[in-house]
């Protein structure tokens, strides 16, 4: 296959849509063609990058706001004359924005609606049945996770998480240290010495801590120290919390 034949097929190939020999023909070409391989890698990297974008969490207060808006729209509905309501039924996408002024009575009604919805939620969580775990249940251990076999399985992703978090902390430390380089010009020699000594000590704590929670804790201690030093010129170490 020639490059100009392969390039337009790259998208389909990477989407897994080229079946049988058409796919293997592309694959064969990629094996021997550096230029097409680079193009394919770029395309694949873009795809991986997009797929790996962080999952965004909806804000925690959003459901409550939606319920308010729905309640407001309900009230607005009920205040419309019946012919308008009938019309709205034919065109249900037309809704009243909550920015309209509310009659004061409507506010009280919203609270009633609210209270009922929330009290419903309280009752819901009672389980259908309770079962009593025997005093000493049979010893059943979930099988130990097998050693990591491939980079893109969830088990290995989970295993890699503590290190990734440590890396984030390390990046924050680097930024704060750079900030400190600017701020320290105003410190006295003895303050600078005290600072350097403390930083070295806290970094040693990080290096000797086990990866995972202990190391993250050590990072946070250093980060707090750097925040104090840069924002308050306070180089004396203060442990704000007893170690949990």
């Amino acid at each position: 296959m020639k490059c100009e034949d392969v390039r337009p097929k790259l998208t389909a190939y990477l989407d897994g849509e080229l079946e049988g020999d058409r796919g293997s023909a592309v694959r064969g070409h990629l094996r021997s063609c550096e230029a097409c391989r680079t193009a394919s890698n770029d395309e694949a990297a873009l795809r991986d990058g997009l797929r790996a974008l962080p999952t965004l969490d909806a804000p925690s207060g959003m459901w409550a706001k939606i319920q308010t808006q729905l309640a407001v729209a309900e009230i607005a509905d009920s205040e419309k004359p019946s012919w308008r309501r009938a019309l709205a039924r034919w065109n249900p996408q037309h809704w009243v924005t909550p920015r309209l002024a509310l009659a004061s009575g409507a506010v009280a009604v919203i609270f009633c609606v609210w209270a009922w919805r929330y009290s419903q939620r309280e009752r819901e969580l009672a389980p259908q049945t309770a079962f009593h775990l025997p005093q000493l249940p049979a010893v059943v251990t979930p099988p130990a996770p097998a050693p990591v076999t491939s980079a893109d399985d969830v088990a290995s992703e989970l295993a890699a998480m503590p290190k990734t978090t440590s890396d984030s902390y390390a990046a924050a430390v680097a930024e704060l240290e750079q900030l400190a380089t600017g701020e320290r010009a105003a410190w006295s020699d003895s303050q600078q010495k005290q600072f350097d000594a403390k930083i070295a000590e806290l970094k040693h704590d990080i290096a000797t801590a086990d990866e995972g929670r202990p190391r993250h804790r050590a990072y946070r201690t250093l980060i707090r120290y750097l925040e104090r030093a840069t924002s308050r010129d306070e180089v004396a170490f203060a442990d704000t919390r007893a170690t949990p």
């Binding site: 079962f131 009593h132 979930p142 924050a172 980060i223 707090r224 924002s231």
Partner: protein, 313 residues
Amino acid sequence: MKFVLLTLGLLAAPAFAEPTPAAKGEVVERSRVEINPAGHAFTNLAVDNPLGDVRVEGYDGNAVQIETRKHAPDDDTLDRLRVSLVPAADGSIRIATLVDNGKEVKHVSRSQVRIDLVIRAPRKTRVDAATSAGTLSIENLDAGGELDSASGSISVKNVAGELLTHSVSGPTSLVQVFGSVDAATISSNVDLDSINGEKLVASATKGRIAGRRVMSRDIELTTTDGKIVLEGEIALHGRLVVSSVHGDVDVRLRRHGAINVRARGGRVDLGQPANLIEHTAGWTVATLGRSSDPMASIELMSKYGAVSLAVIQ
């Protein structure tokens, strides 16, 4: 009226008994377990869920009720999702989610699986919980705890006791907390509402801190770039230290005794006329109230931002 019907519907609404419908091409499994203590009550709940959300609610009962919801692209993967449960004789329970290796090596990415936990526990249970990108929320508990997340949000409501929260990039929101608090994030915001206790320490390296109705006795708020806005009360003999490198500091307080204020910033505005204002070595210092009254101390600093203080008696 449609509205009346809606209300009636809510009053009579049966609990939705159907299992959670799944998104297309997804398999969902839901299960519920209740654990009753034998002997003494549960005191400590440890939850480790890197695969989804954790929600813990306190309630008036003795049992721990755990609802798990697992999502996976197919049955085989669903089988790999495990929730392990370890109750101990000392009254603690450890819950963890994990993923086995499948019988055949069929790889799924983390974005394709999910385990969410909703737990009800006796109010006096201390909660130590960790998530990764999932939300972590606790409500109505009386023994504090430690909450850890990487990029998921942390949300606390109506909790008493000593509380420690830390997150890398998850927004942290603490509402109605009675007790000492230490909240830290790196690159998101900390929101505080109605905090009262001995100590409050909060830091957001690259985020903002906003506090309203904050009444703790000893308060320390620190940011590097983000703005700090605080509204609340300063206790008699209380201590407040707010500092930032680049962020503005905006504090509004109610006072009951006297306060001694030291402030330093790109621009300093101490608002109302004070008994005494002097400028020493870059600091603006003032005393408000009678020096014979119990004296609280306030220090507000921003290297490059504006500092303002408004005091109401």
